[in-house]
C-alpha cells in the first residue's frame, strides 16, 4: 500500500524525535467494531538502516484506520460513541483481569476476548482497580473488534471516598503516577481498539493528576488543525 524512505543523520550518543511526512491512502479498508463491519488491520513496519552497518532496528505493529469520537450526549446525559462517524450502541462488559495470580497468556486472552465477541459485545471496560491491560489483550480486541475503555489506577473506595475517607489526595507520589501513565500510554496507544482513557472509577483523580492526564491525552493541535483545514485535493478525482 505504501512505502517511504527518508535519510537522516543522528548525532553521537543522542536521542531524536523524527516525524515522517504523512502517507496518503485512498479509501483504505476501515477498522470497525464487532457487529459493524470488518476489523481491517494493516501491518506497519518501521525499520532503520545505518550506513556501514546495515539494518540496525525494526519495529512493526498492526494498525487499523478508524476514527473514534465520544462525548456526553445532551439529550440522554450518557456518553455517545461514534466510530468512523457512525453512532454505535455500546454493549459492554466489565473487566478486572484475566487471572488473580497474573498468569496471563495469549491463549487465555484470546479465549476470554473471543468469548466477549461471541456474546455480541463491542466494548470491554477495564476497571481502575485492576490493570491497564497488556498488549496481548489489546491485540485480540483489535482482532475481534472489541472497543476498550481503559481506566487509570484511581478508585472511589481507595482514593477519597469511603468511611473513613481514604487517601483523599490519591497516591503519595504523583510524579510516579504520571510517569507510569505516560509510559502506559506509549505502550498501548497504537491499538485501534483503544477507545477511551478514563481517569478512575467513580472518582476523579486528584486535580494535578487529572489536569496533567487531560493535557497529555488531548488530540495533538496538528490534528485539530488538519481536521478543520481542507487539504488541497492533489489531482484526486
Amino acid at each position: 500500500e505504501q512505502l517511504q524512505t527518508q535519510n537522516l543523520s543522528i548525532p553521537p550518543t543522542s536521542r531524536v524525535q523524527y516525524t515522517f511526512p504523512e502517507l496518503f491512502f485512498y479509501k483504505p479498508n476501515l477498522w470497525w467494531p464487532n457487529g459493524m463491519g470488518k476489523q481491517s488491520l494493516y501491518n506497519v513496519i518501521i525499520n532503520i538502516d545505518v550506513k556501514g552497518y546495515g539494518e540496525s532496528d525494526s519495529w512493526s505493529h498492526h494498525f487499523g484506520f478508524r476514527k473514534i469520537e465520544s462525548n456526553i450526549d445532551g439529550a440522554t446525559g450518557g456518553r455517545l460513541f461514534k466510530v468512523n462517524g457512525e453512532p454505535i450502541f455500546i454493549r459492554g462488559g466489565n473487566w478486572i483481569l484475566s487471572d488473580g495470580l497474573l498468569r496471563l497468556s495469549k491463549k487465555r486472552y484470546q479465549t476470554d476476548i473471543k468469548f466477549h465477541a461471541d456474546m455480541n459485545f463491542n466494548m470491554i471496560r477495564c476497571w481502575a482497580g485492576g490493570l491497564t491491560e497488556r498488549p496481548e489483550f489489546y491485540h485480540y480486541c483489535d482482532y475481534y473488534g472489541i472497543l476498550v475503555w481503559q481506566e487509570f489506577w484511581i478508585t472511589g473506595d481507595v482514593d477519597g471516598r469511603g468511611i473513613p475517607v481514604s487517601n483523599p489526595n490519591g497516591p503519595l507520589d504523583h510524579d510516579l503516577f504520571l510517569f507510569c501513565a505516560r509510559d502506559t500510554v506509549k505502550l498501548l496507544r497504537n491499538h485501534p481498539s483503544l477507545a477511551l482513557w478514563v481517569g478512575g472509577n467513580e472518582q476523579t483523580p486528584p486535580d494535578d493528576i487529572n489536569k496533567a492526564l487531560k493535557n497529555d491525552l488531548k488530540l495533538h493541535p496538528y490534528f485539530r488543525h488538519a481536521e478543520e483545514k481542507e487539504k488541497p485535493v492533489g489531482g484526486l478525482s
Binding site: E1, L3, Q6, S9, I10, P11, P12, S14, R15, V16, Q17, Y18, T19, F20, E22, L23, F24, F25, Y26, K27, P28, N29, L41, N43, I45, I46, N47, I48, D49, V50, S56, D57, S58, W59, H61, F65, K67, N84, L97, G100, L101, L102, R103, G130, L131, R134, T155, D157, V158, G162, S166, G170, P171, D173, L176, A181, T184, K186, A226, K231
Partner: protein, 259 residues
C-alpha cells in the same frame, strides 16, 4: 530488532532463605532447581503463582484455600520478597547493543547480571529497559538474578473485609483489587512479582523507540493520511547516517500481501 523473551527456566526462592548476595548468585554461586530453597518459577507471574505451582500453598481459588495462605500484613513484606533467577545466551558482534527489558514488575526490584547490580525503580505500571551491552558475555551463559520487592503499602484486611481493605495500597501506583473487594478475597502477596514479559533485544547502533501512529480522515473517509513519529537513539560514539523507512502492507484474502 531481535527480541528474545525470557519466559522459561526461571527459579525462585524466598529472600530470607537465601544466604548469598546477588553478585554471588550471578557469579560464583548460581542456584539450581535441585538445591533448597530454590524452586521452579512462573515468569511472567507473581510470587503466589510460583508457590501455588510448587504446591507450597493451596490454590487460593478453591474452597477456603485462601484462608490457609499467610497474608502479607501478618507475615511482613520480607516474606513475599523473592529472588527470581535464570540464565540466557546473547551473542553480540561489532557495533551491536543489547537491552534487558522488563514490561512490568510489581513493585520494585534489584537486578544482578553477571555480578553487576542495576535497580528497577518503584511502580507497577512502567517498563524498564537496561542497556547491558557492556555486561553480557557473548560467549557462554549470562546469569540473571532479580530481587523483587512487594508494594510499599500492602495494607491489612479488616475483619469485615470491605472494598480495598484498609485502602493503604492506594498510596502506591499499583493494582488495588489485591486488598480484596466485595466480589474478591484479598490476594496474599498483593500480586508481587515479575508480572509481565522479560526480554532481551539486540539492535545495531540506532534503536527505534515507541513509534506513534495516528490517522486523519477527509472527504467522508475516502482521503486518509497516516502520520508516524518515532524516537530514535544513536548509542554509538559517531554520527549515524541512516535511512529510515516505513512500509504499510495489508493482507488480502488468503495470505497474499500487497506492499
Amino acid at each position: 530488532m531481535a527480541k528474545i523473551t525470557l519466559h522459561s527456566e526461571w527459579l525462585a526462592a524466598r529472600s530470607t532463605e537465601v544466604h548469598f548476595t546477588g553478585a554471588q548468585l550471578t557469579t560464583t554461586h548460581p542456584p539450581s532447581a535441585s538445591t533448597e530453597p530454590w524452586m521452579e518459577a512462573i515468569v511472567p507471574g507473581t510470587v503466589l503463582a510460583t508457590l501455588v505451582k510448587n504446591k507450597v500453598v493451596p490454590d487460593p481459588f478453591y474452597g477456603l484455600g485462601n484462608e490457609a495462605i499467610l497474608d502479607i500484613a501478618d507475615s511482613g513484606r520480607e516474606y513475599y520478597t523473592f529472588w527470581f533467577f535464570t540464565t540466557f545466551q546473547c551473542k553480540l558482534s561489532g557495533n551491536q547493543h543489547c537491552d534487558l527489558n522488563f514490561r512490568g514488575v510489581n513493585y520494585s526490584a534489584d537486578v544482578y547480571l553477571n555480578g553487576h547490580k542495576m535497580v528497577l525503580p518503584k511502580g507497577m505500571f512502567r517498563r524498564h529497559s537496561l542497556d547491558v551491552t557492556d555486561v553480557v558475555h557473548s560467549d557462554g551463559s549470562n546469569l540473571l538474578a532479580v530481587l523483587v520487592h512487594p508494594p510499599d503499602h500492602p495494607g491489612s484486611i479488616p475483619p469485615q473485609g470491605g472494598q480495598g481493605g484498609d485502602h493503604e495500597i492506594g498510596k502506591d501506583v499499583a493494582t488495588q483489587y489485591v486488598q480484596g473487594w466485595d466480589w474478591m478475597a484479598p490476594i496474599r502477596d498483593r500480586n508481587t512479582g515479575i508480572w509481565d514479559e522479560v526480554s532481551i533485544s539486540i539492535t545495531g547502533p540506532v534503536k527505534i523507540i515507541d513509534p506513534h501512529l495516528v490517522s486523519s480522515f477527509f472527504d467522508n473517509y475516502k482521503r486518509v493520511y497516516l502520520h508516524a513519529t518515532t524516537e530514535l537513539e544513536n548509542k554509538s560514539s559517531g554520527t549515524a547516517e541512516c535511512s529510515l523507512s516505513i512500509h504499510v502492507t495489508t493482507e488480502l484474502e488468503g495470505g497474499i500481501h500487497s506492499v
